[in-house]
Symmetry: C2
Subunit: 379 residues, 2 copies
């Protein structure tokens, strides 16, 4: 087994109506709050009102930054940090999915240090402090609610980057499955793809700790077990709860015990597709993962077969890849570029983008030749 | 799914030679150290020297409390706390297994507050602060290295009690499988029984979160997969590493996600047997679990069958119980009172002890009639 260090200090509050404890939780960290959220759905479905009621009842002064986009951009991070500094904010409450929470992690660092958000994201500066961050999750997908990672994009530099830092851990995460009951079918499916992709990125990293392989398969199998039922019954609490917990477990550090790194090659491809076409993150992954598995199927055949046996009870690499693709298709996630409206005329620009931003995994390096093959395999 | 709160701030350092980072880690918390350990094996096998070398190289002043017993007693806790207070100790380093680390958690609370250790254990006082605790684990078994629980016994009052408190979380846990390579066969087996019993206590608690059931089975299956190989090859690093990680995962909070409580009825029985006969903790559990499963097999037949399918691929409650008993036997752990030298003449005193200390689970309550049946089922 590879040596590892594990640490995750997030307080996870999971279940029905846990947001009732939000006010007293936030109050531990200060009275001036910056509430961050996206573009309106939290108001439409009443989550904003519930959160605001809690914050007001606790006597907190609330400033707001709204409008964070699904593929979050660094401009919003900068503006929100400036607002927070101006108002003397002491604690951030992020209400939303991955984009809102990821942005809020960098807002917190920028607010506490005065550093430029993109200089933080590109490791040009080294923040030593942050502002406490509390989140209320509205989308089961990225795992950001309980980890130290943040992904933000910058259209000026044409990059979508991830930034991992121990200061990024939220203090508290409030996960009420009811807050995900209104997520539409497509984003529900993309969230499920995303969580499975996280488990796979860990699995294909360096190191094969047996119990962690088993646990990783447990998470993937659980998601695959409940996903089709959830797609038929989107407001079902138990099904939402199962998927929400799967998503958190898939990227809270657990699947990385006993490993040197994850791979993340497929995520780097997905980020480039999002940058080029503003494609939803999960949709890029259901396209890219089968292609990557096909590319690697000779190279790491045994590892893919172990996965197939553990998750689907199949025996070959081909069957494993087909089973994942069939599953993605069954929940309505695209498995080819064609399905998102792209065709052969787009191939060259995707290949160029992969070249330019040096798309690669940490464990399984990808060459420029691989880029060409991968885009072809994405159909 | 049941609502739950999860929180575990322990820094886990896992792998070969991780103790090389001990000195700088301890130094973050202070320079006056109390080193606690047991009755000599850490000196015999060189672990004491390695730890001391690290602490000295970091320029730390080290006081020592040695002689903590395998079933730890409250007298040692009181004496060590008094020594620590006298010397102005700032941080405790516990080198050992469950007994040393559990004792050290209460030593830390008593040292920081001046409170009597048994008053802490019996919840008569409510400590609000503690001293930082760092542990170096030498036995894969109890999970205490990464959790907030401590078990200590008091022969004067005839009780062995557990005390759970957020202040009990160690700051750092150093788990080098090499430090467990010298554990003899019997205690290696008892540790494996203990970790499986922890997973089972969680499984039989209130709440049946599907992914956590799967993860619990993954941990148990992994232990059962590697245990027989380890029993034949006690110094094998990879096998020790697998079991060590299984033991930590079995009781670091993960198996309690989505649950209201664990059961812990079998552990309460085991504690009484240890009190009466000083039987090793793991040995009491391999005797008590099959008996408890037999007692409950009609009552919670479906739950036992789900376990059997998930862990052993068997279909009935009887087969499940037999499979666990056979496994315990295969690694040399006793599954009857007879095997630890007790017979029918002891039954009445065990029953009385169960009555007196109200042996019961938190989810599955045990009656006085159950006590009688259980002792009979322990053969």
């Amino acid at each position: 087994m590879e040596n590892f260090i594990a640490y995750n200090p997030v307080h996870l509050h999971f279940g029905k109506d846990v947001v009732n404890d939000l006010g007293q939780t936030v109050r531990q960290y200060g009275t001036k709050v910056l509430l961050t959220y996206g573009r309106g759905s939290v108001k439409k479905y009443g989550y904003y009102d519930q959160v605001m009621t809690q914050l007001k009842a606790a006597g907190l002064e609330v400033f707001e930054y709204a409008g964070i986009k699904p593929n979050p951009v660094v401009e919003d991070v900068g503006k929100a940090a400036a607002l927070g500094r101006e108002k003397g904010v002491e604690v951030i409450v992020a209400l939303g999915g991955g984009s809102v929470i990821d942005s809020s992690k960098i807002i917190a660092l920028s607010m506490a240090t005065g550093m430029d958000p993109w200089e933080i994201m590109t490791y040009k500066v080294n923040p030593q402090k942050t502002i406490p961050l509390i989140n209320i999750l509205t989308l089961a997908a990225t795992g950001t609610e309980m980890n130290a990672a943040a992904v933000v994009q910058n259209h000026k530099t044409g990059k979508k980057l991830g930034f991992v830092h121990p200061l990024n851990y939220p203090k508290d995460a409030f996960l009420d499955p009811q807050y995900t009951a209104t997520v539409p079918a497509d984003y529900t499916a993309y969230g499920i793809v995303d969580l499975i992709a996280h488990a796979l990125e860990a699995y294909f990293g360096e190191g094969e700790p047996p119990v962690i392989d088993r646990i990783t398969f447990a998470i993937i199998k659980d998601a695959i077990r409940w996903a089709p039922l959830l797609m038929q019954d989107l407001a079902n609490y138990e099904l939402r709860a199962n998927i929400m917990l799967d998503a958190t477990l898939a990227l809270n550090g657990l699947t990385m015990y006993g490993k040197k790194n994850g791979d993340w090659g497929v995520h780097t491809m997905g980020h480039e597709l999002s940058l080029l076409y503003d494609t939803a993150h999960g949709a890029t992954l259901s396209i890219a993962y089968p292609a990557w598995l096909k590319l690697k199927k000779e190279d790491i055949s045994a590892r893919i077969r172990t996965l197939g046996r553990g998750v689907f009870g199949v025996n070959t690499a081909d069957e494993t890849i087909q089973a994942f693709a069939d599953f993605f298709t069954s929940i309505g996630a695209p498995v080819s570029l064609k399905e998102i409206g792209l065709d052969e005329s787009n191939r060259q620009e995707i290949i160029e983008q992969f070249h330019k931003n040096e798309v690669s995994g940490m464990h399984h390096r990808l060459s420029r030749q691989d880029h060409v093959k991968l885009v072809e395999l994405m159909g």
